[in-house]
């Protein structure tokens, strides 16, 4: 039979820290503190299983619960030496929620429970402080009335204000015992009037009311929203903690405070805490009185006059310092503690792992390894990979005053300020003049990449997290806010507006790509700094991980950034990005306009030296590390312009009439370009394109190999294949060109030919494809689009609604859909390796930089992940954590939930 209630106190406990799932974080840690001999007010925890039972059974409790609560309550009474409802020595308790994951402020708390007209009098007598007793009683009625009886807060506030007016009191504390007693009477009258029944005087009725309110709060709107945002499963439930009250507000020998065992901002190993004399916990949080520092060092650092606890209560401080040491030794992590001093006695009310900045997290992890508190693996486990984003990008100064202009999706992290421009050309022009610019577009297309590269940041009003703008921006580490639908752009008048505010071209804006916010004007920034701790931790991660980490990089500059961040190769070089630069697009368009193969070959001959130069640069930067180059992928119409003026330019360059150009644009138009004439289908139609690209790759390999001592082994990747035959046709072209270049140069070139797996059919037929492909790279962006039949560009609003309605647990373009797309990745890997056991398998979609997806890649046995350069450190760390999880037998779900 299940045990529903776990007691703790006086150096004993039924539970312990690792029963977090059952007891919630707070309950588990109270039990643990009690077990290790820290002074914890006695109490008991009603388990999360009761919560689950409650919701599974029409909000009814297990039948054994009442008896178990009675027993636990009796034990508390015995330890405290007071009795619940006793007129002379009443036991008072707090009732608090406590879930497995911290959900601060999301659920309800009731303090001072057990007070009624009789016990209040008893408390006044026992404490010798009638004001304290009635203040406690009126606070209890207010809290209970609000939380359990659901009477709006303002009903109590207005009575309180009236009482203060009558007394000429400024503060609550100016009310004396009699006034407070009067207030209690008025509160009770109001409750009676609103509910048609009196405020409950029976402490047991109060207790069950409060317990029910805590369980009920698990399903309130705030809690539901919080869980959705933090991906906490509803099934976890909350526990309820009932604990004997201790009071920090019974006089000058009383105090209450909170502390961190180390500095949560910097991670430095110094005790950092605040306390208030003669106060309740609420008072510290409410900020009515300025708290004092716990340590003298802290007092000095802050230039405060009020005495530190170390001076004012040296004995208590010594005890607290001892607790600090005990907790760090015991939990082997920085703790966030709450304590109360009641008449000279220290009580610990809570301990939990303290929240910290990523800088602090790194320092603490690295220091604790030095201090031999934890090992390297544990240090690696402790850092949330996504948090590294803060280290790698400038962030807004949190102290700055800001005016928000609008909001969109946090598409690429980092913050940037600059002049607003509305076209890629203008972005390039202004940037060349030395301005920082923010490129603002309804949406971007490959035609805009030169402007995107020139801009400091990108803002679009359409498109989701994986729209063109978002993908390109993340690849380059450019901050980007996408799909800011409330902002209207008018290209004609060169303005954008939202909520009645207009911004013209040339005015300043600031975007925060980490939060998706757009600010008016320039907001001050904090530049990123990479401490030694970062390098130390990353080195440990690299020792632990099994997965290789590569970067998606198209240019030598990208490649350089990627190597600085520790990339071990390039997993995806998108050759088409090279074709959009000013001089190249002309030749590219000539090729598209050519009526025959000869015309195409003439235009391709102009592109060849440029591509060769790009690849040579890339190979040189990578110094022999593997480089995967994907052949031309997008449909040709993406390279043709859509305005009349530009079409005229193209016509002039190609020596044809503008009508010709228009006709070609129309002929190439596609209703669904995502499913159109692209990928290897282009190279099958025009093998001369693949030929030119292969030649550029192999000639560059020879050249880069000659210049440096590094042997270049290019990996040529064929996109969008669905059949072995496609690979065979193009592999024949590539092999022929390789042979030609080898003969011409007299140099042996080692290379491999592989394919993207980005269509469901390719994954299913992987055994065919692997007969011809020497490596696979899962293009999970397109694979997700085709598997779900969902265009990432068109369905930002659908995705948003689906996530809100929990149809999707995650955005499948951010975190891989393990059940659907993941099965195809597994099929692809298993079936491919069945025919070619040494098949190299990687992933180059956006998922390659997502920790939860990386955990999946580890489990599936991929060889490497490839992501944008700025995510490489995140991927390295996530890969290490995935390896640790795999070693310890934890599943994907576990990793995903904590990532």
């Amino acid at each position: 039979m299940a045990k529903w209630v776990y007691g703790f106190g006086d150096g004993k406990a039924d539970g312990k820290a690792d029963l977090r799932a059952l007891l919630g974080g707070k309950g588990a840690n109270l039990a643990e503190m009690s077990l290790i001999g820290l002074p914890v007010p006695p109490g008991f925890t009603i388990t999360t299983e009761v919560c689950t039972h409650y919701y599974a059974n029409g909000r009814r409790y297990p039948k054994e619960l009442e008896a178990e609560v009675d027993g636990a309550l009796a034990a508390v009474e015995a330890l405290v030496g007071a009795k619940f409802g006793d007129a002379a020595k009443p036991l008072l308790v707090s009732v608090r929620s406590g879930a497995r994951a911290s959900m601060p402020g999301m659920m309800d708390t009731v303090l001072n429970l057990g007070l009624n007209d009789v016990t209040a009098k008893g408390l006044a007598a026992a404490s010798g402080d009638a004001r304290f007793a009635y203040d406690s009683y009126r606070r209890f009625i207010q809290m209970y009335g609000n939380v359990v009886l659901e009477i709006p807060h303002h009903e109590f506030e207005s009575i309180l204000d009236q009482a203060k007016d009558e007394q000429g009191a400024q503060q609550d504390t100016d009310l004396d015992a009699a006034a407070l007693q009067g207030l209690v009477g008025r509160y009770k009258a109001m409750v009676q009037e609103r509910l048609g029944r009196p405020f409950p005087q029976d402490p047991r009725e109060q207790l069950w009311g409060a317990i029910g309110a805590v369980f009920g709060s698990w399903m309130n709107d705030r809690a539901i929203t919080y869980r959705r945002l933090h991906e906490i499963p509803e099934s976890w439930g909350t526990a309820v903690n009932v604990q004997a009250m201790v009071f920090g507000n019974m006089g000058e020998d009383c105090a209450t405070g909170v502390a961190f065992t180390r500095d949560p901002s910097t991670g430095e190993n110094r005790f950092f805490g605040e306390y208030l004399v003669n106060a309740q916990g609420e008072d510290v949080v409410a900020g009515i009185r300025t708290p004092r520092q716990v340590t003298i060092e802290g007092k000095k650092r802050q230039g405060l006059k009020e005495p530190a606890m170390e001076e004012a209560m040296p004995a208590i401080f010594a005890q607290l310092a001892e607790v600090r040491a005990t907790l760090e030794r015991h939990y082997r992590d920085m703790q966030d503690i709450e304590f109360t001093v009641q008449r000279g006695k220290l009580w610990m009310l809570q301990t939990r792992n303290g929240k910290r900045t990523v800088h602090a997290a790194l320092k603490i992890a690295v220091d604790m390894v030095k201090e031999k508190l934890i090992d390297e693996a544990e240090a690696v486990r402790r850092i949330e990979p996504q948090a590294l984003n803060q280290l790698l990008h400038p962030t807004l100064d949190p102290k700055a005053d800001v005016a928000i202009f609008g909001r969109g999706l946090p598409a690429s992290p980092g913050a940037a300020s600059g002049l607003v421009v509305f076209s890629a050309d203008e972005a390039e022009r202004k940037a060349n003049e030395g301005h920082n610019v923010i490129l603002v577009r309804v949406e971007t297309s490959p035609e805009d990449v030169h402007g995107m590269h020139a801009a400091r940041g990108i803002l679009t009003t359409r498109g989701g997290m994986t729209s063109h703008a978002a993908v390109v921006a993340r690849g380059w580490g450019r901050p980007c806010v996408c799909g800011a639908g409330e902002i209207r752009i008018d290209y004609k008048s060169q303005t954008m507006s939202a909520a009645g505010v207009a911004i013209r071209a040339g005015e300043h804006v600031t975007i925060d790509g980490g939060t998706g916010t757009v600010f008016l004007g320039e907001v001050p920034m904090i530049q990123p700094r990479l401490a030694d701790d970062f390098a130390t931790l990353m080195a440990w991660a690299d020792k632990i991980r099994r997965l290789g980490v590569r970067a998606n990089a198209d240019t030598p500059e990208d490649a350089r950034v990627a190597r600085e961040f520790g990339a071990e190769g390039i997993g995806l070089c998108r050759t088409e990005h090279m074709f959009f630069e000013a001089d190249r697009i002309v030749a590219m368009r000539q090729m598209i306009m050519a009526g025959d193969e000869a015309g195409r070959r003439a235009a391709l001959a102009k592109l060849l030296p440029m591509q060769r130069k790009d690849f040579t640069g890339l190979f040189e930067v990578m110094e022999g590390l593997p480089v995967t180059i994907r052949l031309l992928d997008p449909p040709l119409h993406e390279f043709l312009p859509h305005t009349e003026a530009e079409q005229s330019e193209v016509a002039a360059a190609a020596g044809v009439g503008v009508d010709e150009v228009r006709k070609r644009v129309i002929a190439l138009e596609e209703a669904n370009p995502m499913l159109g004439h692209r990928g290897c289908r282009l190279a099958i139609s025009y093998p001369e394109i693949a030929e030119m690209q292969a030649r550029a790759i192999f000639e560059a390999a020879v050249e880069a190999g000659r210049r440096s001592r590094h042997r270049v082994v290019p990996e040529v990747m064929i996109p969008l294949a669905a059949t072995k035959k496609e690979l065979d046709i193009l592999k024949a072209v590539i092999d022929r060109v390789a042979g030609e270049v080898m003969r011409e140069s007299g140099t042996r070139i080692d290379y491999t030919v592989g394919t993207m797996i980005e269509l469901p059919r390719a994954a299913l037929r992987a055994a065919d494809l692997a007969q011809s492909a020497e490596f696979f790279s899962f293009g999970t962006n397109d694979l997700t689009q085709t598997t779900f039949g969902l265009s990432r560009d068109d369905t930002a609003h659908v995705l948003k609604a689906y996530i809100e309605q929990r149809i999707f647990e995650h955005d499948p373009f951010v975190t891989i859909d393990v059940e659907g797309v993941g099965e195809l990745v597994k099929f692809g890997t298993e079936r491919g390796r069945a025919v070619r056991p040494k098949l190299k398998v990687g992933i180059c979609g956006e998922h390659g930089g997502d920790p939860a997806s990386i955990a999946f890649c580890e489990e599936t046995g991929l060889d490497y992940v490839s992501c944008s350069p700025y995510r490489v450190p995140i991927a390295r760390l996530a890969a290490a954590q995935a390896a640790l999880a795999a070693k310890s037998g934890q599943g994907i779900a576990k990793v995903a939930a904590t990532a």
Copy 2:
């Protein structure tokens, strides 16, 4: 060890008819005829395995071949009583190709082989006819020179013409023996001059040269093209038949002819043949002399004067009639035979199953069952399902003079003539005036459906076999030619032009949707007629098949046609087609323009009675047969107009500014609508749409049920689901509405809710979906698009090239891709039934009407196929054949290859 050579003759044979794969069709039937005692000139067959060996080993023969040929040749010599190369009594042979499948005229033949300067003299002496001998010799040099020595035909022709000029001869037959002997000399001189070596005099050298030429011809361009068009595998190879020559041109007691054992046009059971006295087989084919009829009845029927064989050679005729009876009894099918009479003796040179019209095929099959030659199953097996198209649609009169305007894809069978119109509105207008019209568009969209319905035929210049135009046209049985890329349409000037010819609006054209041809003017037609034989055969097919056959039908008219063709239910009713009709589109657009749910509900309230009426009509026609109704599927922007004028109309109707409309059009635009906000995603966003549709369905079910004695059980189908959650959300709406309608009407409604499986993820997660869905219907059009990442509308040219390059064996939108899409269908079926064993599973994509795909559905255990009404008979027959194939253990490959 393999046996490479199979002899036949004199009532014996090494082979027999069922060794067709090894001996080719001709060789197998020669052996069979010899075995059953028919007079066959002796000879031998070199097997197809020699051909395979030849190509697998660098064009070298198996080493045992020469000895086997020598042995077989000796046996022929013994039977004929003549010797190869003998001066006095020379054996002459023919060398012919003979593949497993008939490839008429695709490969090479050499006759009279064995002649040289010496044996020609001997033949002259032996036959007593020098002219015959030298005519045979010069024909041999000409044939051998062309086929084996690869000397162009005209080289011989010019020498022949010169000889005729010199002799003043009009015809070849005017040349006498001496002139022919002289011609032989000149031929040999020319060969010597061109090749630098003499024409081979050694008969054995001649024989091996001819054998090599036949094997070589397997890989000539003509043969390769033919195989591609007829899907004959290269690996089959050809056999070589070497057979003693017999001559029909040695005098008036000689003859040659061809005959069918029944009438190949009508199928009537009468002997139908033609012959020529004193002629060679070539002469019949060449058409220089008009052949005579074999039977007196035939002579009379054709009104000829020349005596029938029955009169001129009564003994031979009697023998031939006996042969006819023997062959039909033996082969149990109508035979196409070739015979030669040499000096009063009948020789059979070939028999094979005769080609016939589909009318004849039906009659012969049904008659032969009556005659107890075959059973019903065999009769069902004999009809090619696709051929039924000819029965169901008008066809062009083959005798008509035609002028071809252009060509496109044969998108929907049947022929139609009419006035050219370039818009859907104009089509409707002209049709209402009583004209037949052909709607000509670059491509069609759902906005055009009213015009498509009004038109007799549809012609588009873009889009493939599964484009919107093609799909809609097939559904309605409208002839359609698609993707006629060479035709340019100019909407402005209301003309279309191709190859310099222009057609204006209002002029006549004719399209043949069975061949994809467009003709100038009106071409006379033959109307279809359905004979009793058709009904008889279909009834047999229905007894045999296991698969249900339903139709895709949107209107009561469609449904009526479907039932006439034998549909057992509706597998797909596309509700959106109903929204495009004049009065409805206004309300539909009001709904789309509505800014909130209330506005949408108001517009939907107008649509409700119309939808209810549609469904009531459908249910009434179907009289209790199952009807699957799919909820709204296409993205909303498909319902909005794109011209300014129409947008103004919509604005007026919706009571908003035209700017509003334009904004909405732009806001709804999608880069990839196929992967956009459509299917169940619409109903998730706007549950009120699903609610209205569900209400219309259930109210119609109640109404139709009340009016008739048939119980209506609607099947409500949710499109484009990828997750169980989507189904759950919409099923809740449908169930709620069903409950409401039941309460309101006081009638119990039985219904089921199921889903389309048209996304790879849906197939993979079928076990989830089947928990909520009571039936699955595979939407293999979209499933093929997403699995291949290939838009059917955009990639007609890609598909064409892929099929030509044999990257695809079939068009995957016509015949299901068994390996890729098929695996998903299997997963979907197996995984779905694993959780819901009684899950009803069907297919409603275009593949539901394709025989090879139906064979796959049979193997995969689907419950039914659903196709356009006009394909229902084809599907019934194909399903029966698939059931027979499954019973006999034949695989899909076999069925696919013969379908």
